[in-house]
Symmetry: C2
Subunit: 300 residues, 2 copies
Amino acid sequence: MKKLVETVPNFSEGRDQEKIDAIVKPFKEIEDVKLLDASADKDHNRLVVTAIGTPEAVEKAIYDSTKIAIAEIDMEKHEGEHPRMGAVDVIPFTPVKNIEMEEAKELADRVAKKLSDDFNLPIFMYEESASNEKRRNLAKIRKGQYEGMKEKIKEPEWQPDYGPAEIHSSAGVTAVGARMPLVAFNINLDTNNKEIADKIARKIRHSGGGLRYCKAIGIDLKDKGIAQVSMNMTNYKGTSLYQVMEMVKFEAERFGANIIGSELIGLLPSEALFDVAEYYLKLDDFDLNQVIENRLLEDL
Amino acid sequence: MKKLVETVPNFSEGRDQEKIDAIVKPFKEIEDVKLLDASADKDHNRLVVTAIGTPEAVEKAIYDSTKIAIAEIDMEKHEGEHPRMGAVDVIPFTPVKNIEMEEAKELADRVAKKLSDDFNLPIFMYEESASNEKRRNLAKIRKGQYEGMKEKIKEPEWQPDYGPAEIHSSAGVTAVGARMPLVAFNINLDTNNKEIADKIARKIRHSGGGLRYCKAIGIDLKDKGIAQVSMNMTNYKGTSLYQVMEMVKFEAERFGANIIGSELIGLLPSEALFDVAEYYLKLDDFDLNQVIENRLLEDL
């Protein structure tokens, strides 16, 4: 079976359809890459591409689309609501099938080196590829945005990991990194009291002493008249969906609240759900090769 | 996405490796067919092939392997422990992806007609393809086996659905039919009292007033010192795995017994497990397209 990696590059162009099409094109045309989604947002002035493929093919598509984005996007003229620091704002690589995190990190470094060499682009490595803890979090790297980066990049602690210590005159800087797929999972409560959702969120999330790979906040779903615990699971193998389910259940109990539903947002790997079935069915020796679809994917 | 159908033909040859290889060959070589398993058993003197593919490709592989089996197997000389009535004993077709039961039934009829026309082979249609209720159950059709079939097929009520009303002189008769994939699921109890497993099995199975698509028996796992409820789920879409799980749980409770584990035997479709996760996570609007692997399979 082929190795499969996912990438979700973000480009700072969400308005000019011609430019958007040109940037997306490599993900449509290169063999062994499958474009799963391309969403351009006019307010954010941002294009988010989701694609999957072999590491080599994904590398090529990223290279080609970056080349086009750098030629077409001028950050000096860019405005939009979403924080951004470069024409190719961020390039994450996520191991999907038959590939370990270590190899996704090597891919990220290879891509970062090549992009910085060929396009004179300063690059920060983030998440699993971060050279230090401060750079793990994209929001911290991006703080000050494109405009602030002109000075920030000259500070000793914000030297880029690859490329020159000054921003690209039109493309700014780019963040590249390997990370686990994010699973966005929201649990709805039978209360309209957002404080209860907040309290539960604080208990279950890593920063509050809860589950290691869980980020959580309380949300007020006004139109539905209910409160929600909204979660980002940053490593579905390390922290399972059933664990947050059971934890939200017993934390909600003290407030007399109950779970009335949940939702998964966007894409997720099948294993994140098999794992839930395995737990609740108390399966002893479940093997992923027992799943017909996994056998079919062997040939991809 | 391509239509995918599974077939698990059983051939009455489990000893002669050369013949076995020849029968299996079409499933290895025909494009758009994937051989998942080929198990030959010497005691049963039987070969069970598991393959998946597009309806057209599977039809071709079945035709080619049947032609070889009829040429190579002489039922007059066949002996083995497993009940059998023909060189190609049974050919089931199971809808897997992007195909409804109705189309699998059409495929079964098309194959049956062609095999009977070209090889003068009498064919009984079984399971979903059965022409009457008595023929739904393969064991009832096969009763009397190859030897008894010589007379049985002449009885008015056992006229074959396709082909002549006399057995093929060396290949006997064949059963062909469409059916849902079987999911074999066993639940272990913390008791060595088989009677408890029996009682639970009787309550949850269809014949005992339980779940429509559940067959169940109690089993004594002597080496483990525990009793087991052993189930065949005959339609995982109609009756879910979580339903038997919860039913076994509440039936066991009255005997003070608990579930300590479970096992899935053989292959199953991913949806049978997604369904379990959906229930226990209380997911509101889960879409199979959210699963990355399903998106990858679109191109198959």
